[in-house]
Symmetry: D2
Subunit: 178 residues, 4 copies
């Protein structure tokens, strides 16, 4: 998982976070942005296009750390704004429980979710987005795909770290898995 703006802090210097990553699981939120119709049914999933430091490009969901002292809901809103811009108008879920827990390990064989840098535990939510999305920071683009498109082989191959599976779990949760 990538995180690009958590440097706003003073809370953890780069050395410290590197240190913690070797010794503690780091807690994240993942948000799958969706468009819905008036019946609350998911019609489209939003995927970010991202360039990794090594130059590879992949599609990804919204992702970021929960900071010290920050509530899960604050972390969700902050990371949605970071990745989708300030007028995306996300509708946070009413319930605090995520639809799944994605456990990312340096070893991809443990759970299928993979992060070479760290053991990350991510609370994953589906978030309906009503407004205009302007991918910010390191995101090159945001694409809205139908459930059929998002589970296609082509799109799956463009996702990394097991996030293609995370999106399928999200679609299952909302009853729209093809």
């Amino acid at each position: 998982m990538t995180e690009h703006t958590d440097t706003r802090t003073g809370w953890l210097a780069p050395d410290d976070i590197a240190d913690a990553r070797e010794r503690l699981p780091i807690i994240y939120v993942n948000a799958i942005p969706v468009r819905i119709n008036t019946y609350g049914e998911v019609t489209h999933v939003g995927l970010l296009l991202r360039a990794a430091p090594d130059g590879t490009i992949s599609r990804a969901v919204v992702s970021g750390r929960i900071l010290y002292g920050e509530r899960v809901r604050d972390a969700l809103l902050r990371n949605l704004e970071k990745d989708l811009g300030s007028v995306a108008l996300p509708r946070l879920p009413l319930e605090p429980q995520p639809f799944t827990i994605a456990e990312y390990f340096p070893d991809p064989s443990v759970t299928g979710f993979h992060d070479p840098r760290q053991h990350a535990i991510s609370l994953a939510f589906v978030v309906a987005v009503d407004g205009e999305c302007a991918p910010a920071q390191d995101s090159l683009d945001l694409t809205w795909l139908t459930p059929e498109e998002v589970v296609s082989e082509g799109v799956r191959r463009e996702m990394a770290g097991g996030q293609d599976r995370l999106v399928r779990l999200a679609l299952g949760h909302v009853g729209q898995l093809p």
Copy 2:
């Protein structure tokens, strides 16, 4: 549970529905209307004030049958409009699964949910409502109460059929049970 507009039908004459009620469980939706803040947290619960045919008055949540050929989401929207008016702007949940199943029996000792007329199985949802609510039909009023108010002894006593407990289950689901 009350249902007031299912007479729009021709689908079941009064005699037929009376007949079915003695032999089949009847399927309902219950909706707990809520106001939320920008973080998605429930700040208020909406309760209807209703007069029963016998003249007693009680507070209740939105309730109604699922009709033949009707999807759950359609039944939810129709019954929300019936009880809250046409500009309530309900936001249906993204997921098809209810937060609980309320099983109403003529015998109140079976589950605590009670309906003297029938065995009703109700799919219960929490629904955020953004717009103006104008209680319609047999509803005399709609009151917005905080979670603390809604679980108070006074309000509990004004609810019938176990719906006071249904509201507490709804508050638990969204993490706002006091």
Copy 3:
């Protein structure tokens, strides 16, 4: 969906149930039997092999009506016993809410779940089964398949009425969708 033993009743004569089916949604339970390991992870899904009246054979999950006066948990246990035998030792879920609601319509285009005879609303549960299963009644066999096998094209084609999708939703719910 098939139902084979609801004739134990006297509660509804065949003519009456045929009549109700044209005018009311009929409420069902679906149970997806699974084997789990000591960590609670689903390792296998059990599918029944069934012969339909027209001679076609298909794979299916446990399925049956909720009867008048019967609690959902009683209906689950009764239908599990009907299809898996009396020593299957099913472990019912602790929570009353199903992982999804499958809405079967005579018209397969409405939700993808299809029942030519009726509008059925089914509460779907994943149920861990510890004991020996002896498929009873109209079931010819019970096969335990891994998550990978159960989502394969070959197995999907052997299922009817959208139940292949129901199984994928179940696997998503337990985090084991491949």
Copy 4:
């Protein structure tokens, strides 16, 4: 929240964990042990009796950190064994999603969940326990209480950090909140 056996590690020296606690949210599991009947209904909740370092005694649920490299399911099993002994035979939930997320802050006014030492984010699960429980380590006792008893004023006052509310949320999730 207390944690008593995470000293098995070498993974974090006491100084290091103290350091991390000032700068990162620490991730925990909470498990509410329950007894169930053959229908899967919760009949009793198990509460531990614990002596805090300052000599105060309180009732608590199972609690402990998720360690680096450890899966959530492994952390659940390890902490259940730590608090309930090795023959408790816990049945982990099939689904990876917790019934709620309890966010403990040094400031009790933020969420109602309170931990003076740290910002802890806890994944909370209801876990059916079949075997004999022998409270281990710092736990003085384990008491099984009915849902009615566990929500009584007397028992609520014996719990700390908001765990009385956590237990009510758990009871709501399984439909047994009185």
